[in-house]
Structures are given as structure tokens and as C-alpha cells.
């Protein structure tokens, strides 16, 4: 089966510009997560979708970040306007509902964002 696909793999933009990251989860995975790792720091949770609904967006840094998952398939994460501190690698992961066992996530390769 196809894995989790993220696009673009790397984006370089100037401060104040807008960037949209896209994630295509594994088909049939209702759960979709966004994470971010800033250089030298830990991977941090941003938000969680169940199908098209935002289950938890407590990790979103501020209102410059907007995530959507229309139709419960692919998701986008828009940063507008981008700031220097938004630089990092944005990971998307998906999973099936878990009724036994837990936390088995399939990650994409990540989208590296560089804000100059």
C-alpha cells in the first residue's frame, strides 16, 4: 500500500510569505496528525484530525497556522504569514482507529520549511 505522502519536501520562503504543506495519509486511515520538529528540539504534536474533524489542535503555535482536512482525505497546513521561528520539519502521520494496542503511527518523510 502507498505510504503517507507529504509535499513539498522542502520549501524556502521569506518572512511574511505564505506556505501550504500537504499530506496524503494512507487510504482508510481516519486519524491524521501533524507534528513539527524545530532544529535540535523534540518532535512536537500540532494537531489531530479524525476524518474531517479537528479532534485536538492544542499544539498549534498560534493563529498563523491553519489546518484543514476537507472530505476527510488529504490535509493541508497553511502558515500565514510565516515567521523565522516557523522553520523546521513538519511531519504528518496517520493511523487506523486503535481498539487494542496503541500508538502505531505511519509517518511521511516530512516537509522541511526554511523561513529567511
Amino acid at each position: 500500500e502507498a505510504g503517507v505522502t507529504q509535499f513539498p519536501s522542502h520549501s524556502v520562503i521569506e518572512k511574511g510569505q505564505t506556505v501550504t504543506l500537504r499530506c496524503d495519509p494512507i487510504s482508510g486511515h481516519d486519524n491524521l496528525y501533524w507534528y513539527r520538529r524545530v532544529m535540535g528540539k523534540e518532535i512536537k504534536f500540532l494537531l489531530h484530525f479524525v476524518k474531517e474533524s479537528k479532534q485536538d489542535e492544542s499544539g498549534m503555535p498560534n493563529n498563523r497556522f491553519l489546518a484543514e482536512r476537507t472530505g476527510g482525505t488529504y490535509s493541508t497546513l497553511k502558515v500565514q504569514p510565516a515567521e523565522l521561528e516557523d522553520s523546521g520539519v513538519y511531519f504528518c502521520a496517520s493511523s487506523q482507529p486503535s481498539f487494542s494496542g496503541a500508538n502505531v503511527l505511519t509517518f511521511g518523510a516530512g516537509s522541511r520549511l526554511t523561513v529567511l
Partner: protein, 111 residues
Amino acid sequence: LAKTTQPISMDSYEGQEVNITCSHNNIATNDYITWYQQFPSQGPRFIIQGYKTKVTNEVASLFIPADRKSSTLSLPRVSLSDTAVYYCLVGAAGNNRKLIWGLGTSLAVNP
């Protein structure tokens, strides 16, 4: 959720067995222990998960003592391609959003 502690880095040689121990003193009753592997420029990849005792798959073994306050990931006969960062996480079903990743253990396998 339980926070984990694992070594920052480890070195090994090809063909050796590598054991990475993770401490999770405040693990909850319904928490599972999961290990991920991450190569440069890739996302983390699931390698093994367990609740208690021992779990083995084609990639690794996971040893969990009775008190579940620690766990050990065992990689048999490592090769250069096992050079990666290994993350230990604990959490319950449905709590992926609350997992604390930490910095992981950077394993370097030398020829």
C-alpha cells in the same frame, strides 16, 4: 502521559547486538510501550510495540520487566543500515496526540 528517559547516543559495531534501555517510571496501567526508528530526512518508522514481558518481530525484540518501569529494545547483529535515531514512547490507545517524543537515542553503527 509518561515521560521517558533514554541515552542520548550509543556506538556499536557491525554484527553486535545492541540494547537500548528506556526508563518510564510513571507508566500508567493502560499505557503501551512503542519504539520508532528514524533515518535522516525521513519520518519516524514504527518498529515494535509491547505491553509486558517480551515481544519479538523480524526487526527487533522488546523486553519489559514485570514492573514495566523500563523497557529494552534489542537489535540483533546490527549493520551499518541500523544507524538511526531510536525513540521510546509510552501512551494509551487513542493518545497519539499526547505522546512525548524526547530526543531519542542516536545509534551509530561502525564498520
